[in-house]
Amino acid sequence: MPFIMIIYYLICIYLLAMLIWNFVREKKSVDKMLQYILIMIPLILRLFRAK
């Protein structure tokens, strides 16, 4: 795997971890919960290499 791809996957992991953390911490706004889940989808698909 080229070096740039490793960086991209690390960025994906970081963003996903932040989103999960925010999703878990969110207690009030359903809109924000929905946003976090939607943004997580492409990152999860990419990390698990789901085609």
Partner: protein, 387 residues
């Protein structure tokens, strides 16, 4: 269980379900196989990876069909599916593949050049995933693809695509566009490997004519035309004039711009001895100011908004209530390809390319496109190629 936890679980289940249903449809589309029947003229079938091993085992690899005549002559390569959302190219190439025989020379056909693009879609534009062509034996189903390769096969995109070898700066998306990555390179991105493999094919097989078949918007000036660089202009001009005189349709000539890099009609000519041509037939489906992007619009080319624009003189092709049906576009491609071969053969008798049993424009319009497709269930298994 607290209320916010219930909300979260419900949201995960709903979004997960929607993602799964949508994803399943895209998965089925990506893996849908179109049967192609090698007709009586096919003498050999190779893979594009035979010319660039880096493609082996990837979604970018594709079939290359050879129709070799009994007598020696020149070689013509027909590339279809460079842009998989311009399906008249694929449909025309299949007419050649399933019906044509070659007397002199060799015809090489790549029906699905950007194979990854053919397994991609443009969900933002609401593209249909499939379209069907009526044949005497039933409906033949095809994948509707996209202009560029799937990001599942080539990722990530750069911020700016730097073309090789000219270093011209192009749109980031064009690194997945096989009409911007010519002449390609073996150690580049996947689509650069695809075009490099085609360049290797052209050089190793001593191809004389390379025809890249496309479709273009009715509101785009480079439509209904043959794009040709300086060295192909004479044949392109004679083809255009002959088609107008004998077949009665317009197909003007557009010079290939020297300063715009990565296009087949520019780079094939500059990096090989072949004469390149790019055929454009109008495809109203690709125009922006249309109604919904339906299968009907794709096949019939009828749209009320384009009709209004036509009356105001905003289109670059004649357009009326009859639209611009698929049979017209496919017929134009068939006649233009045959005429280019004839014009070349007249000037190069030792490199003659003589193709038989291919319908002309008027015949395709009269009989329809599906008339020329064979029933895969009745064909010999060894002649049916799924891709």
């Amino acid at each position: 269980m607290s209320r916010h936890l219930i909300y979260k679980l419900v949201l995960i289940i709903i979004i997960g379900g929607i993602t799964l249903i949508g994803g399943l449809q895209l998965y089925q589309h990506r893996h849908f196989q179109t049967p192609m029947i090698a007709g009586p003229g096919v003498t050999k079938v190779k893979k594009l990876s035979d010319y660039e091993p880096g493609l082996k085992g990837t979604m970018a690899d594709t079939n290359v069909f050879f129709l070799k005549g009994s007598k020696p002559g020149g070689k013509m390569l027909v590339i279809a599916g460079t842009h998989s959302n311009e399906p008249a190219a694929l449909l025309s190439s299949l007419i050649f593949l399933e019906n044509s025989t070659v007397e002199k020379g060799t015809l090489i056909i790549i029906p699905q050049f950007n194979n990854s693009g053919g397994r991609n879609t443009r969900s933002g534009d609401g593209y249909p995933l499939y379209f069907e062509i009526s044949t005497p034996w039933g409906q033949k189903k095809f994948r509707m693809g996209n202009r560029v390769a799937s990001p599942l096969d080539q990722w990530p995109d750069p911020d700016v695509y730097v073309h090789y070898p000219d270093r011209q700066l192009l749109s980031y998306l064009d690194i997945r566009n096989t009409n911007r990555t010519w002449p390609g390179r073996p150690n580049g991105a996947l689509m650069e490997k695809v075009t490099y493999a085609a360049m290797e094919l052209i050089r190793k097989e001593n191809v004389d004519l390379a025809i890249d078949v496309h479709g273009a918007e009715t509101m785009f000036p480079v439509t209904n035309c043959i794009v040709a660089p300086e060295k192909s202009l004479r044949i392109a001009t004679m083809t255009s004039l002959t088609l107008k005189a004998t077949e009665g349709f317009d197909n003007h000539v557009e010079p290939s711009p020297q300063g715009f890099r990565g296009l087949s009609h520019r780079e094939i000519g500059d990096f090989s001895d072949a004469l390149p041509f790019l055929l454009e037939a109008p495809i109203p489906f690709l125009d922006q100011p249309t109604g919904p992007k339906t299968e009907d619009l794709l096949l019939k080319g009828k749209d009320p908004f384009l009709l209004k624009l036509s009356k105001k003189g905003k289109l670059f092709v004649p357009y009326d209530e009859t639209g611009w049906p698929m049979s017209k576009r496919v017929g134009q491609h068939c006649s233009a390809i045959l005429e280019i071969a004839q014009q070349f053969s007249r000037r190069n008798p030792k490199r003659t390319i003589e193709i038989k049993n291919t319908p002309l424009y008027s015949e395709v319009i009269k009989n329809g496109v599906g008339f020329y497709y064979k029933d895969p269930s009745k064909a010999h298994k060894k002649n049916v190629f799924y891709n």
